[in-house]
């Protein structure tokens, strides 16, 4: 317990002073109009080899439109933090854009079953798992970064292989004189977070659960916000308590209605179970996975094009009605075969 291990599994960490300097030089309190196109935001913010994380959790409120754009632009060799992540990163793994992953949860879709493209990527060696961690540990790594601390202490997972294969270190807590785990701060190069509404400066409102999005926004070096709706300044100013992410952390803002499809945005629209079933069926073989990517992503000019392909307004309105319980919930999509 007294020997502190080497940094074999440490990724995404920086000295807090370096990040203070980074913020001083790269973030601004000026209220600038940061609206842009998704194409431009992704081209500017996501670089070959970056460490990237997405907002939301599981397959809820994820920036799927931005994921499509990354795939279309062919930005490769990405390292992903899979913090309870599902469809967003699994699409990138299927398309071959990610080559490295720090994993808390990453190779399944909960009750829908295991994610075959992500598993194929790692089992064939195309994707390397850099380290293991836990959902709480990933959250608290971003918490440390957001708080300007080198680490965050926890009593979780002590003594497990999960921590042996992570960047954390066990020390003796000087107060209890018992072992405690120090989770290293994590500063992603880029974070993309999908929110319910934002103003043009990047102030964001999120309804429902916020997962670890506040901390991620404060931790990442470059922050792209995709919003269901860009709202007038007064909407934010009239109720500052609802602002979960403040503008000064944000670098680019893009309005992307239905930007999480086929995933859920709480209180706005439901999962698209029909489309989910199509993806799950397609993901069974390499060939059909490639056909799916061609049909819906590579051959689409943008996300609006994709939204037409999945059924357009008729389907999207139905998903809104399902979320509001005005229409019955369809059969839940599951992996077949």
């Amino acid at each position: 317990m007294t020997t502190v291990k080497e940094n074999t599994f440490l990724y995404g960490w920086e000295h807090p002073d370096k990040m203070r300097e980074y913020r001083k030089n790269n973030k601004s309190m000026a209220k600038k109009d940061k609206r842009t196109t998704l194409k431009e935001a992704v081209a500017r913010g996501v670089k070959e080899g970056d460490y990237i994380v997405f907002g939301g959790m599981g397959s809820v409120r994820n920036p799927i439109a931005a994921v499509h754009e990354i795939i279309r632009q062919g930005i490769g060799n990405l390292t992903i933090g899979t913090k309870g992540s599902q469809h967003d990163w699994q699409l990138l793994a299927a398309a071959g854009n990610v080559t490295n992953a720090e994993v808390s949860y990453g190779f399944a879709d909960e009750v829908r079953g295991l994610s075959l493209p992500a598993r194929r990527a790692v089992e064939s060696g195309r994707l390397k798992v850099l380290s293991e961690t836990t959902n709480a540990a990933f959250q608290w790594r971003f918490t440390a970064a957001a708080k300007g601390l080198p680490f965050y202490p926890t009593r979780s997972s002590l003594g497990t292989d999960t921590l042996t294969y992570s960047g954390s270190k066990t020390i003796i807590d000087p107060f209890t004189k018992e072992p405690i785990e120090l989770l290293p701060a994590c500063y992603p190069d880029v974070a993309i977070i999908h929110v319910h509404r934002a103003d043009k400066y990047g102030n964001c409102q999120i309804d429902g659960n916020i997962a670890e999005d506040i901390e991620i926004a404060h931790a990442a070096k470059f922050v792209i916000i995709t919003a269901e709706q860009i709202v007038p300044d007064e909407v934010i100013e009239s109720d500052p308590a609802q602002t979960k992410i403040p503008y000064f952390t944000v670098d680019a803002v893009v309005e992307v209605p239905y930007g999480s499809h086929p995933n859920q945005v709480p209180r706005l629209y439901s999962f698209d179970e029909d489309h989910w079933q199509e993806w799950l069926d397609a993901s069974i073989t390499e060939e059909t996975t490639e056909e799916y990517l061609d049909k819906y992503i590579y051959s689409s000019n943008d996300f609006y094009d994709y939204l037409e392909k999945i059924g357009g307004v008729r389907v999207l309105r139905q998903l809104e009605n399902i979320e509001k319980k005005l229409a019955p919930y369809p059969t839940v999509a599951r992996r077949r075969g």
């Binding site: 939301g56 959790m57 599981g58 809820v60 899979t82 309870g84 994993v103 808390s104 949860y105 990453g106 190779f107 399944a108 909960e110 009750v111 829908r112 295991l114 598993r119 790692v122 089992e123 798992v129 293991e132 961690t133 836990t134 959902n135 709480a136 959250q139 608290w140 918490t143 926890t154 009593r155 979780s156 997972s157 002590l158 003594g159 497990t160 292989d161 999960t162 294969y165 066990t170 807590d173 072992p179 405690i180 429902g208 659960n209 916020i210 997962a211 670890e212 999005d213 506040i214 901390e215 859920q264 709480p266 209180r267 999962f271 979320e323 319980k325 919930y329 059969t331 839940v332 599951r334």
Partner: protein, 252 residues
């Protein structure tokens, strides 16, 4: 005749207290928890990793731990930080876990089959599993039992059970008086012997045999002196259960 899955879920449901908090995942744990809510435990507080606290979903069951149904009719909704801190601070007595492999001390593997560097099968990873296994007071493990799953030696220790015996959790710094509480399989319900912390059969499901307990495990399982047959599911439990999963997402 109730199916094996039905028996497992109903047994899990009966373990939950009238008023307490439980960390739930989607699938069998959620069905067991909502069944408890609808039968004997109306004040059971369901907590989800996505941030939902106290939701009482209607219409269908949540299929994701972060979706809006997890806090429908609920108490509050926050962040991963909030709900994981609740567990670390001792507010959440019960947790649910599953796994691809378990050993005699309730340690679990949900990470890889084979070598970590070159896995034969890549599994989901810890997710919140290691956190729940570390921080909740009493963990209920639900999984099917066979010799490949009940192993002498895990390929990877993702989530902590009792490691190698009594006092080992505390020695490593985990919160005191926590650990696996029950293991529910298609064969029976197991606890952990207070002196050895090894898995011990407490109850056998009707139609199963003591031989099946050992035949389906690669490690030796003790049989409690006062072992008994589990009480059969009631009509009310079965009806309520099926009303919760009309599409058979979990029940098949």
């Amino acid at each position: 005749m109730a199916t094996e899955t039905e028996k497992m879920i109903i047994a899990a449901s009966r373990l939950l207290p009238e008023d307490g908090a439980v960390y739930v995942g989607t699938g069998m744990p959620l069905l067991a928890s909502v069944l408890a809510l609808k039968t004997h435990a109306p004040d059971l507080l369901l907590v989800y990793e996505g941030g939902g606290v106290g939701g009482k979903p209607t219409g269908r069951l949540p299929i994701q731990v972060s979706e809006s149904l997890t806090y429908e009719n609920g108490v509050t909704v926050g962040s991963m930080d909030y709900v994981m801190s609740l567990a670390q601070a001792g507010w959440i007595q019960y947790g649910f876990l599953g796994g691809a492999q378990i050993d005699a001390y309730g340690n679990l593997n949900t990470t890889v089959i084979g070598d970590w560097e070159h896995p034969k099968v890549r599994l989901p990873g810890s997710g919140g599993g290691a956190d729940i296994a570390s921080l909740c007071e009493k963990n209920i493990i639900i999984m099917r039992q066979d010799r490949r799953k009940f192993v002498e030696q895990l390929d990877f220790l993702t989530s902590p059970g009792y490691f190698t015996g009594p006092g080992e959790r505390e020695k490593r710094g985990l919160p005191a008086n926590t650990g696996p509480y029950r293991v529910i399989t298609q064969i029976g319900i197991y606890g952990f012997h207070p002196e050895t912390k090894r898995m011990t059969l407490l109850e056998l499901f009707q139609g199963q045999t003591l031989d099946a307990v050992q035949e389906n495990s690669s490690f030796a399982i003790d049989i409690a002196d006062d072992w008994k047959y589990a009480e059969e599911p009631t009509e009310e439990e079965l009806e309520t259960l099926h009303a919760l999963d009309r599409d058979g997402i979990v029940l098949g």
